[in-house]
Subunit: 361 residues, 2 copies
């Protein structure tokens, strides 16, 4: 069996977590994994399944410089730096080229850095099974989460028949579906054949490269990156990367591939898309308040219900007589907004920018 | 003319400003006077009218220890320490005894430490006029603020005829009225003969002492305090103070006196009773948000209206899509509550106490 490499994609910025997230402190650096940075949790989740020298982080230059303080001990040699942000397809091509140049027979799992996935042992069993499937069948394998509610914020995968009657959790992927409206999401959940698209996928280096053929520009850039990696010409890698089309791995590769398998996962999974994720991943009190606290922060709720609190550092957030708010308290900033506006924080960030307060971003 | 002494009463705690105010940091220490502590503003307001060696602060032992950091340069010799909190009548008796022992002919103005009064020149003219009246007529003089709305949170003074037709702003006080209900307050304002009770009064030491005769216990304690001060026996002063009845100067003295004059003041005055005072004393934006900021704090409001912000230190309070909230941000605590609950913060403070978080009080 080919060896498993894991590529953690950690390039995002996450304005929807402002003021906790900043340009120099993206969402994956926030202690959203029960006090640990999401990125640290993503690394820890691979412990024992994927050797450290086969675990990779792909990120931008600024975040790469910050990694020693966020994920201390993670080897610098395992960090792949993107020359610029060009969405996920060039990112995966770069990682695949870097790995394939050393280990042409590699199986590569691509994982977002900024999701919450529990429990770890179930996750590892699934990833091991998906990797074996990818290596054996030379197909791309993605992971679908059994939906627990009619989410409108996630993409869905429509599943077909099992690949093998002996293993009903491994299915043929029929179609990828964008974030649906409420009614469609309800149909999806009722149908029972739709899974949430986890953003995690695995394939051999050869299968990933082959699947890029659907996008000629991407395939050419990927081939150039591989050749440049093989001769260790970093400038040539950079040039090839910068010529790759700005597109996502899902759109350019996964959704175009003729054969994609889905491994069905009944995991606690959350893409931590906004502060509302704290309703799922945070701690709850008896009044429906949910909190995610780090660094000694506390909450005092009095006649207050259904609020969401994110706080860091030695501070107490007191809620008195309020409902359905998001309250964020970090060192130099406090945010108060209604719960239903939490997913719309980009509007506020635009306002901050327009106010000339780029120092706060 | 007898010399004017000013006694600033600074013993209060102000739980209605939690978490900005704490047991060791009462309301009068907060930078509510355009960035200055209210107590500092109270001292500064007397500058030029009342010499520093005749300006006194009466407070408790803990606050007295903190004064050098809050009002640096204020002479320790001018601080009168109350042996315990026994409301304002024993406090005034102690201050009167302390002053009269040195300066038997003194005229003494008693002023709360925690009000906002502007402008200073008008205040000084009034206090000078009231002091002259008190010295000349040997009567107690209080100051009444021309009401600008039907406040239910203030006491009122019902006024009678002018003392002198040449001076229509100096009136006979007919009656003190407790905080009225809305309808009564509206009647008071419509009548035009009612003024807000500012809590500021002035009288000669002899007149103040004489007026205490209405309360035998208070009069006896005051006489003992004066005698003890005259022979500089601090223990005897303390013993006398501790035997004084726990009552207010308004109830025990002002409201009982047969002859009290009121000087009518058209000042900007606010007793800063809760965070709602920031609507009056704070800075406003175009959306009806009011803020009181100190130490580099800032506010960013986006689609937010009619909120009240109090913030200290290098932090930004971002309001996004919220209305009618009070948001307080200080070093180790954040408070969010509806505007209409601002006057009810004692309930929250009780909750904090009951939660065992006395470290936050």
């Amino acid at each position: 069996m080919s060896s498993l490499h894991a590529v953690i994609m950690a390039g995002g910025s996450g304005t929807r977590f402002w003021p906790a997230s900043r340009s120099a402190r993206p969402k994956q650096f926030l202690p959203l994994a029960r006090g640990r940075p999401l990125l640290q949790a993503a690394i820890d989740r691979l412990e024992g399944l994927c050797a450290r020298e086969r675990t990779w982080i792909v990120t931008n230059a600024a975040q790469a410089r910050a990694l020693p303080t966020v994920v201390p001990g993670f080897p610098a040699a395992q960090v792949i730096v993107e020359p610029e942000a060009r969405d996920t397809a060039p990112c995966v091509a770069l990682a695949t080229a870097t790995i394939a140049a050393r280990d042409p027979g590699a199986t590569i799992a691509v994982l977002p850095a900024d999701h919450v996935i529990e429990p770890v042992d179930a996750f590892q069993r699934l990833l091991a099974r998906g990797s074996a499937l990818a290596a054996d069948d030379r197909t791309l394998v993605t992971f679908g989460i059994a939906p627990t509610f009619a989410a409108t914020g996630y993409g869905y995968i429509e599943c077909g028949e099992p690949l093998d009657q002996q293993e009903p959790q491994a299915l043929r992927a029929r179609r990828f579906r964008e974030k649906p409206d409420r009614a469609t999401a309800e149909q999806f959940v009722a149908a029972g054949t739709f899974l949430w698209h986890s953003g995690i996928s695995v394939g051999t280096a050869a299968a990933i490269t082959a699947a890029m053929a659907h996008n000629a520009g991407l395939a050419a850039a990927a081939a150039r990156m591989l050749a440049a990696c093989q001769r260790q010409d970093r400038d040539a890698v950079t040039r090839a990367f910068l010529r790759a089309p700005k597109t996502s791995i899902d759109f350019a590769v996964m959704e175009q591939a003729s054969q994609v398998a889905v491994v069905r996962a009944a995991l606690r999974w959350d893409d931590v898309g906004s502060f509302r994720a704290i309703e799922t991943i945070g701690e709850h009190d008896g009044a429906g308040n949910a909190a995610l606290l780090a660094g000694g922060a506390g909450v005092l709720a009095c006649q207050a219900a259904h609020n969401i609190v994110y706080a860091e550092g030695a501070r107490t957030v007191a809620l008195f007589g309020v409902q359905d708010l998001v309250v964020v308290a970090v060192g130099d900033a406090v945010l108060v907004c209604p719960r239903e506006r939490a997913a719309d924080l980009k509007t506020l960030v635009e306002h901050v920018k327009a106010s000339g307060r780029t120092d706060l971003l």
